[in-house]
Amino acid sequence: MKMHAKNRNVAIIGIGQTSFSSHKEDQNQVEMVQEAVINALADAGLKIGDIDCIVHGNMELFEMQFAPDLWHSLGTGAYGKDEYRITTGGTTGATLVCAADNLVASGLYGTVLAIGMEKLQEGNTTGGITNMADPLWFRNLQTGALTGTTAQEMIDEFGEERAKRAAMRYRIMMDKHAMLNPRAHRRFGLEYSQMEDLMANSPPLVGELRLIHMCSQSDGACAMIFTSEEKVKQGTKNPPVWIRDHIQVHREETIPNLFGFNKPEMTHHCAARTLFARNGIQDPVAYFDVFEMYDPSAWWAVDWLREFFLLTGDEHLRMLEAGDFDLDGTIPINPSGGVIASNPIGATAMLRPAEAALQIRGDAGGHQIKKEVRHALASGFGGTFWTVLMILEKELNWQEVNHD
């Protein structure tokens, strides 16, 4: 696909997160949003007056608040400013990053703040998820949001023992990363020695998808600040993290036709091959120093590593088994602990580029990768298997690939 040069280069210069937990009862929605915004401003060394535009997103049927950005303006600081509200389900947080990138790159705005939030405890999460389905047909069939089809496919392809070990190894690895991230919601202190026990005893939800494999449901918010190359040159508190490129790949609402005979290409794979091709990245495993991947479950995570890295056969399992995805491996995955550890849905997909940016800055704290991080990949997932994928860079020096 032909890629046009961006009008302006855009950098992430501020990141703010709240803590993530299942019961943030000591704050209302506005206060929670404000906490993330204040943290982001402090991180960037800016004041609210330095922001030209706010971009807001969440999934409003989870809090049952219509047009929540209007009330939340008390916490976002949008008073007197331009504001947009963009929502795309689970991918919202990542879409907000793309939107902020678009808005700054357009030249219409100088500095944009994006805020993603969710307070699942204030609503009925099951109700919210059930309402995703078409009201005429699927909503009445209670097919639920959980499926074990991917686990079964992997068992069919690689054998039960190997597949189950891979999913569990990934799960424990995510928990080990979460244990290093004080902001993570769920931190169990799991050990690899528990693998057999968990594989056998964690209560099954659907097929081989067990409780231990599933992501959490969290309350929390994340805010990020974006600005233009011009402003970065004037000086910023933190080293800038550049957004090189982003892509969003949606698809129709029908899910069962992903599990018929002869599956179509997954959006993850489509996003990756398109993004890498137009950026001249031939070997993503070698190129990237970290991948913050949106992993709703351990089974999907392992499967999608093959999709995102454009691998074939059991390459991804061999890499997992060899420790290539560990914190000190060739291509660390989710040093933050990922979605399995913290999942404030409206913010979750923003946390992926946020955490990736922290890695590039060297600011991730306990879960910082020791080797230098120069090239980062971050993904968002949501809707009916939609993907958002973006590339972040430490330096403004990538080669433009000219297809013309």
Partner: protein, 382 residues
């Protein structure tokens, strides 16, 4: 090389209706998509076609979590990028402009839909836009918040029952010439003045009817516009602005947010004096009093001069709401798209019976939130 200007190449409107019971959203949007493609011939080809869609819909009105999910196929979003501008249609146009100016795309499809008739009450939905502890509990919704504003504004501007009736009568006259409008019956001033109070001082006939609809637009970079239209309408400027949330913190007649948004939009469009440079205006008048109020906010007359504006023929001079406006019935979240559609059609010379000559620049306005907490302003030019 990124573009400097963005054009609206084509617009397609679904007729507004009080109850489109025989269609679901997917059907409404497909009708709009086919109309746009017939006008322009655009495709979704990976190299030459639309790869980015900006949609507009709302989870509450659709009773659907991720309301754009159900219509992804008719939006053409299969293996393409799509972003949903939640609940504010004119923002979708402003944002689509940004996407093209950013260099990420040179074509963007904008598609919005909403059925106010699907849920038992649009007022319950609006009530749920207030904070759960106070605003909601007290029973605020868009209508009674607007009534508070109406009362204050009528006093400030000297707006009378006769003025309000005149606005409605005129709206219906223009709606009658607009095949896409909902409420097209001619109505007499006496009937408006006698219509029952909905929420004092807003009478039944002062309020826009419950409406269902959909709108689509194709936007293109300057370099590509000619592929799709001979008569591109250029986006000269767009801006929006958020006011404070608590009604008590605001002067409901001062138009703080609208003036900010308009000011920024005019600056971007290089407009020094809107009164001299604007030829046509489409304001989002959900209730009759809002027409002159938003006209003040756009700077087309002074503060508190709204009634005088009407008395001195301001509506004719500035070609206000030749579509019939929102008073003729649009679903609230995409009423801004309908405003932009009319403005674009007028500039293109495709406004049929409503067409007026000598148009160079038009303003389309949209608002959301209680008593206009948030406003968007789009400046289009030929």
């Amino acid at each position: 090389m990124a573009t400097k200007r963005v054009a609206i190449c084509a617009v397609a409107q679904h007729k507004n209706d009080s109850d489109l019971w025989h269609k679901r959203f997917q059907g409404m949007l497909l009708d709009v998509l086919e109309e746009l493609q017939a006008q322009t011939g655009f495709t979704f080809d990976e190299e030459t076609g639309v790869n980015t869609i900006v949609s507009c819909s709302d989870d509450f009105f659709d009773a659907r979590t991720i309301s754009d999910n159900g219509v992804a196929d008719v939006l053409g979003a299969q293996y393409r990028g799509e972003e949903k501008m939640a609940q504010e249609g004119l923002n979708a146009v402003g944002y689509a402009q940004a996407v093209i100016l950013s260099g990420y795309a040179d074509l963007v499809l904008v598609m919005g839909h909403c059925k106010e008739s699907q849920s038992e009450s649009r007022r319950i939905i609006a009530n749920m836009g207030f904070d759960p502890f106070y605003g909601r509990a007290v029973g605020l919704d868009n209508l009674n918040a607007a009534a508070l504003q109406a009362r204050a504004y009528m006093k400030k501007a000297g707006l009378t029952e006769e003025h309000l009736a005149g606005i409605v009568v005129r709206a219906r006259q223009f709606a009658a010439r607009n095949p896409y409008a909902n409420a097209r019956e001619i109505v007499e001033a006496g009937k408006v003045i006698a219509s029952p109070q909905l929420c004092d001082p807003i009478r039944q006939l002062h309020a826009y009817p419950v409406s269902d609809g959909a709108v689509g637009m194709l936007l293109a970079s300057e370099e590509r516009a000619a592929e799709f239209t001979d008569r591109p309408v250029w986006i000269a400027g767009f801006a929006n602005c958020m006011d404070s949330y608590f009604l008590g913190d605001r002067d409901l007649t001062a138009n703080f947010a609208l003036k900010q948004a308009a000011g920024r939009a005019y600056r971007k469009a290089g407009i020094a004096d809107p009164r001299k440079e604007i030829d046509l205006v489409e304001v989002m008048d959900a209730y009759a009093y809002q027409q002159p109020l938003w006209i003040e906010g756009l700077g087309l007359c002074g503060d508190g001069e709204g009634a005088r504006f009407l008395d001195q023929g301001g509506q004719e001079k500035y070609r206000v709401n030749l579509s019939g406006g929102m008073l003729a019935g649009n679903p609230v979240i995409i009423a801004g798209l309908y405003r932009a559609a009319e403005a674009a059609l007028q500039l293109k010379g495709e406004a049929g019976e409503r067409q007026v000559p000598d148009l160079h620049r038009a303003v389309a306005h949209s608002t959301t939130g209680a008593a206009g907490q948030f406003h968007s302003v789009l400046i289009l030019e030929r």
